[in-house]
């Protein structure tokens, strides 16, 4: 046993010696399983693509654990060069002014040219109020609608583009023995992206992008309350399935053919291909024609990479080189194909298209196209602090609506009240 240990450390020493001249940087991430392996592969490709820098990815637990580990490390001056932070945690890290170097500055300071062909729905989410990119989108996906082709044929219906259409076809699907639809993430799909899809303001201060001070949720409004009223009616009529807050709990009945349509992530088709033994396809997230005549783009979920401040200049250059590498077409296409996440630049999308990838995987293209639909004033995303807790409040209150414990009005009143309290508290943490 000790021999193995000794041998291992000796090996580590020799490899370290061989790399002594390279500049070492660390990336902390939250990608487990196959995604973790894909992350390791991207890092290896970067290390092999040049001989100045060496990037080491480190798995630090789930998103929340990674963020907390980063906070602890930052306070102690031990922060990594790059950290992966998820959508709901973005306000925490971006709000801490000076904790991160905006990706755009990092890249330009290192003498690179900052690309301009980022896909809008992707690039804006982690940008500041002036549109400067702060976090480099890493694993991005957007909500789309998957459908069981046979089920829809059996019922003799077409996949809906609007919720009005859904209401028309749903009884036929129920008749055919299916639960017509389910979804996997109420705050992400039926709240944040609901607002974006209909170009509705989600919060004051430009959805929170202009600063935490005075930001308030604008969620207690008719369009979204009408939507939840409708969903509750559908559930009661057997036209919609709600299986709790667990992502997989809602995906499973689609996979085993009970549910005919499922709202999930544009990256979900890889898992569905392994688990569904029927033909499925995908289309855009429906919208209410009563609210907007034309739908607007959705934005992304997932996480972005942030360059932490307080590192030596040469390491920042290394981080910039990695960002530059990461946003170049080949790694993007590799990542896109390997994980199902969308590419972040139009060039990478064109490359994947030219390679014929979307002929093999039509579902993979739906998300990218949806992200490139016309944008409006309120389709960039949102920036709100303590948002993890706000999502918890939403999930809880939505659950109470569906179980009949609360009316739509009561639930949205509580979300507004408690959400705004959390936002106010967050603003206080920022002012200190």
């Amino acid at each position: 046993m000790w021999k193995t240990l000794l041998a291992a450390s000796a090996l580590a020493l020799t490899t370290a010696a061989a790399q002594a001249e390279k500049i070492e940087i660390e990336l902390w991430h939250a990608m487990g399983g196959a995604l973790g392996e894909a992350t390791n592969a991207v890092a290896e490709q970067f290390n092999a693509s040049q001989d100045k820098y060496n990037l080491t990815p480190v798995y630090k637990g789930n998103y929340e654990e990674t963020l907390t580990a980063t906070i602890a490390a930052f306070r102690a001056g031990e922060q990594p060069n790059i950290v992966q932070v998820f959508d709901a945690g973005a306000a925490t890290i971006i709000g801490a002014e000076g904790a991160v170097i905006p990706a755009q500055d990092l890249i330009e300071n290192a003498g690179f040219e900052f690309g301009t062909d980022y896909i809008p729905g992707v690039a804006n989410f982690y940008a500041d109020e002036n549109g400067k990119m702060v976090g480099m989108p890493f694993n991005s996906s957007t909500p789309i609608l998957y459908y069981n082709v046979e089920a829809l044929e059996e019922a003799g219906v077409e996949p809906p583009t609007t919720w009005e259409e859904f209401q028309e076809i749903a009884p036929a699907l129920k008749e055919a023995g299916y639960v017509p639809m389910a979804q996997s993430h109420l705050p992400w799909i039926f709240t944040e992206n609901f607002m974006s899809r209909h170009n509705l303001q989600f919060a004051t201060n430009a959805n929170g992008y202009e600063g935490a001070e005075g930001t308030e949720l604008l969620i207690n409004v008719e369009p979204i309350k009408a939507h939840f009223t409708a969903v509750k009616e559908w559930i009661d009529a057997g036209l919609f399935g709600y299986y709790g807050t667990g992502w997989g709990d809602n995906q499973a009945p689609f996979e085993n053919g009970e549910v005919a349509m499922w709202l999930g992530s544009s990256g979900s088709f890889g898992g569905l291909k392994q688990s569904a033994d029927f033909e499925f396809s995908a289309t855009y997230l429906p919208y209410w024609e009563a609210v907007t005549e034309e739908p607007y783009n959705t934005f992304i979920g997932g996480a972005a990479l942030f360059a932490m401040s307080g590192q030596p200049e040469e390491e920042n250059e290394a981080a910039a080189a990695f960002f530059q590498f990461l946003s170049s077409p080949e790694p993007q296409v590799f990542w896109h194909k390997e994980t199902g996440y969308v590419p972040i630049t139009a060039t990478a999308y064109e490359l994947a298209k030219a390679e014929g990838y979307y002929d093999e995987e039509p579902a993979a293209e739906v998300g990218i196209n949806q992200l490139q639909q016309p944008g409006g004033d309120w389709t960039k995303g949102y920036r709100m602090g303590f948002y993890v807790q706000i999502r918890d409040v939403m999930n809880r209150e939505y659950g109470r609506i569906f179980s009949g414990e609360a009316t739509v009005d009561e639930a949205f009143g509580i979300i507004e009240e408690e959400g705004n309290r959390l936002l106010e508290r967050f603003a206080q943490t920022q002012s200190g």
Binding site: A12, E26, E65, A73, A76, T339
Partner: protein, 310 residues
């Protein structure tokens, strides 16, 4: 305690014949039936306790897609060897040096280091508190006592800062020491020492034994079973640590088994099917060392606890 109780009941402890049951011929059957009832209860208990573990094991021998779509499997699958080979020997991680074996070794170091460290530290402290009269004794006791009140999760950021300040990140020392801070071991030993008869100390004093000799020659041997019991409890606690190690270490050579299980399972929303088989397989493997320790030491363990009960 028990001896006192005998005095209280006031009955002579003499063997007596069991009273014959009303139906004399049925006496044997009566006893037998009772043993049967007890065996049924125990078998039911074993089913309750071991059933889920057995199902976890059989499930781990299936492929992940089956587990994902059909759930836990009662029957034995045909994926046993590939799963367990992957879990134990497959080299994963960025450095390609993380194996189930390596992670178990880390968990073992953490479990052993924590258990041994805790026993030494808390035995010394309990000895001081019970066997010495000194001005700050009570204060020290309450200070140690207070460690039960605040779980690590709440003080995790400041704890990290302390460990970093001491330069102990990515080290076994940094992993183990903060965990030792909790007082449970000290209380177990304090309770045990208090039950040691005074005559022993008086006799030792007559023999001219000082505090050190009394501790080493009398108290330590007397506490052997108690030590075994605490060792097992603490080993399991150390072995199962998760949050602290993940915060504290960035070097893949420090990965522990529980972290490995979480990493396998943590797959982002539907993009992939987690390797349930490997997670369960690793969970089964992760159970073996602590279970072995519990089984091997269980006699000592029970005996140790019996003595602490006095």
């Amino acid at each position: 305690m028990s001896q006192d109780q005998i005095a209280v009941t006031g009955k002579p402890a003499v063997p007596v014949a069991r009273p014959a049951s009303a139906t004399g011929a049925g006496f044997g059957a009566f006893v037998r039936r009772h043993q049967i009832v007890e065996h049924i209860v125990l078998l039911f208990g074993v089913l309750l306790m071991m059933g889920p573990i057995a199902v976890a094991f059989t499930t781990s021998t299936h492929d992940p897609v089956t587990i994902h779509s059909e759930g836990m499997q009662l029957g034995f699958g045909d994926n046993f060897l590939p799963t367990y080979e992957a879990v134990i020997f497959e080299q994963t991680g960025f450095t390609k040096q993380v194996t189930g074996w390596g992670m178990s070794l880390n968990s073992l170091i953490l479990g052993l280091g924590f258990a041994i460290g805790k026993i030494i530290v808390s035995m010394l402290a309990a000895y001081a508190i019970v066997y010495f009269r000194f001005p700050l004794g009570t204060l020290c006791f309450w200070v140690i006592f207070s460690t039960l009140l605040l779980p690590l999760e709440v003080r995790i950021l400041p704890s990290y800062e302390v460990v970093q300040g001491l330069g102990l990140l990515n080290s076994y020392t940094g992993l183990i020491l903060p965990l030792i801070a909790s007082a449970t071991g000290t209380f177990f030993f304090r309770q045990f020492f208090k039950s040691v008869p005074n005559e022993l100390l008086e006799a030792a004093r007559i023999d001219g034994a000082g505090p050190f000799r009394f501790f080493w020659d009398i108290l330590v041997p007397l506490s052997r079973t108690m030590i075994a019991a605490i060792f097992i409890i603490m080993f399991v606690v150390g072995w199962n640590q998760y949050l602290w190690p993940i915060l504290m270490t960035t070097d893949e050579s420090f990965y522990t088994v529980v972290r490995g299980i979480r990493q396998i399972l943590q797959v982002w929303i539907g993009a992939d099917i987690p390797d349930y088989n490997e997670a369960l397989g690793l969970a089964i493997i992760a159970m073996i060392p602590p279970v072995l320790i519990v089984i091997i030491f269980q006699r000592m363990f029970i005996k140790g606890l019996v003595e602490s009960e006095k």
